[in-house]
């Protein structure tokens, strides 16, 4: 597996003594949709800026696409598209003109194909109609899209995006997610940072978590979210359910009058379902409990940073109600509602969750082969 980003013992101490990044070893593989997570102030942006040659490390090394940064940043960054803490444009110029100047700056943008490439990226981010308007007239969401268009302009091998969904409405976020998935499918590696853990949980294949400048986890998302060995049961006959399960030596916790948590300890979850039904217990819902990235994060950082994290993370799950501002736009549980019981994630039990909203029209068209690109 080709490593496209590697940092070793990467450290940044700012003048004044603030240790923003503390001996971080990151590794992003080709083809990853890599989530870079942590609360505000954890050091994500500083790390990303070091990847892009904007901030000089105090210690440690950075390698991007096989080249050392900042020493060979001129070569390394040619194939990198980036979005760092919001887009930046010249407000007195049109969106198109901004892209033209941006492409003309530095090496690598062929003048011959420039117009065609600009047309293609504007189309791709849904700004084809408004490209000639001055930036002053753009909404925040439009600027964010134009920033992405700029990042896509040279068909990069690697996209490094810092908080790309900041300032977007739920529909914009949905469209962006589709775009990221498209990009990865077409062979681009995408690194995206976010303080919204749930957002990353939905689309990323691998993730790293930072807290207080240190890397606290780095793994495949499905490994981080491995089942916990417990099931959640909702039943009007919860007392009978508890008795039935305890008769099989399973540890049962009460959540409330109709909800139980059973610790399986190796007992197959599908057998729990049969056991209850055979005992005449009515089951409204039965789901394997999974941890969310938020739970993982809080476990890893302990009490020390939990408060700071909670302040910026989606609200914790209470009584099975989906938490967090974007909970309504989660995809429906993929393997839910099989035989009267559902096996969804613990955050979205289908019995209590509102139905997912109809999918907004997808304004990100399928990727068109970009003329003149490096691939």
């Amino acid at each position: 597996m080709t490593v496209v980003v590697r940092t070793e013992q990467l450290t940044k101490r700012f003048p004044g003594g603030l240790l923003a990044v503390d001996h971080v070893d990151l590794e992003v593989h080709e083809g990853d949709l890599f989530g870079f997570l942590g609360p505000n102030g954890a050091g994500k942006s500083t790390t990303i800026r070091m990847l892009l040659g904007l901030i000089f490390p105090t210690e440690g090394t950075v390698e991007v696409l096989g080249q050392a940064v900042p020493r060979h940043a001129q070569r390394a960054l040619l194939d990198v598209g980036s979005l760092v803490e919001g887009p930046g444009f010249y407000p007195y110029l049109s969106g198109r003109r901004n892209l033209t100047l941006f492409d003309a700056a530095g090496a690598g943008g062929s003048r011959r194909t420039r117009d065609a490439r600009i047309d293609a990226v504007l189309e791709r981010v849904g700004l084809a109609e408004v490209g000639r308007r001055p930036i002053k007239a753009y909404s925040m969401g439009m600027r964010q899209r134009l920033g992405l268009a700029a990042a896509l302009l040279r068909t990069p091998r690697l996209m490094i995006l810092d908080e790309p969904t900041n300032g977007l409405d739920p529909q914009g976020i949905h469209e962006l997610r589709s775009l990221f998935v498209e990009l990865v499918r077409s062979g681009t590696t995408v690194v995206l940072s976010s303080h919204l853990l749930a957002e990353v949980e939905v689309i990323c294949t691998r993730a790293a978590m930072m807290a207080s400048g240190r890397l606290v986890a780095q793994d495949r998302v499905d490994a981080l979210l491995a089942p916990t060995g417990t099931v959640l049961i909702e039943s009007p006959d919860a007392v009978d359910a508890a008795a039935t399960l305890r008769s099989r030596q399973l540890l049962v916790e009460w959540i409330d009058a109709t909800h139980l948590r059973a610790h399986l300890d190796g007992y197959p979850s599908e057998d729990v379902n049969r056991l209850l039904v055979d005992a005449g217990v009515r089951v409204s819902e039965l789901s394997r409990e999974r941890r969310s990235l938020e739970d993982v994060f809080l476990d890893l950082t302990g009490g020390e940073t939990a408060d700071a994290a909670r302040a910026v993370l989606p609200a914790p799950v209470v009584d099975g109600a989906p938490g967090g501002p974007w909970a309504g736009s989660y995809p429906a549980p993929s393997d839910g509602a099989r035989d009267g019981s559902s096996v969804g994630s613990s955050e979205t039990p289908s019995a209590t969750a509102p139905p997912p909203p109809p999918s907004p029209p997808n304004e990100w068209p399928d990727p068109v082969p970009t003329p003149g690109g490096s691939r």
Partner: protein, 267 residues
Amino acid sequence: MIAVELSKLLRRPRTWVTITLLAGLPVIVGIFLKTTGIAPRPGSGPALLSEVLNNGVLFPAAALALILPVFLPVGVAVIAGDAIAGEASAGTLRYLIARPVSRSRLVLSKIVMALCFILLAVVIVAVVNFIAGAALFGIKPLTSLSGTGLTTKEALLRTLLSIAYIGWSMLGLAGIALFASTRTDSPLAAALTALAAFVTSQVLDLIDAARVIKPYLPTHYWLSFVDLFRDPILWRGIQRGVLLQAVYMIVFLGGAWASFNSKDIKS
């Protein structure tokens, strides 16, 4: 990168507003002189202005003399102070560096941009006011400040030389503003820093107690361009002025380069 910078300079409304104001002020003064017929007495008032009522040939040079003490430096400080700090505050600096554009090349293209602005400004001011001078006061053979006659051709040549000298005189200030521009993310702060340096230099140049350092002040030889209209031309002040500006430029441009190449871009 230089082409990109020039494109931004030329497409920016601010550039043309600044130049219009610079060119417009002397025209207003000229109209007042023409309608009232009251010119400053020779030796008082702005340089060369006492002469223009008789002859429009001197008006472009007089116009530059009018904007030289305040307006031109303010314009230069604003444009050069905006060079890097303006990119930082617009959020475009991080994208240029990550594009990637090398930091040295960016500083270089910024100073070229500032030089082009200065050149553009003084040439447009001179051309506009040549036309205004010709229209208001007419073109006649010139009498030099030393009292000998000059042909119109010679007068124009000397006007061209004075345009070049005045443009060159702005180099030191542009260097200072560009250096300040690498040290802050606020274009206003950078422009004000350069203006503070400029005012300090002007003040020190006025007081006798600062006599020892006067020849090294960046504004000290600015008005030496008047010597181009003497016969024969007094080259001493002009030569020193040219050299001094070059030294300021090199020192501060080097400072800007070193400062920017080691700077963490947090904007």
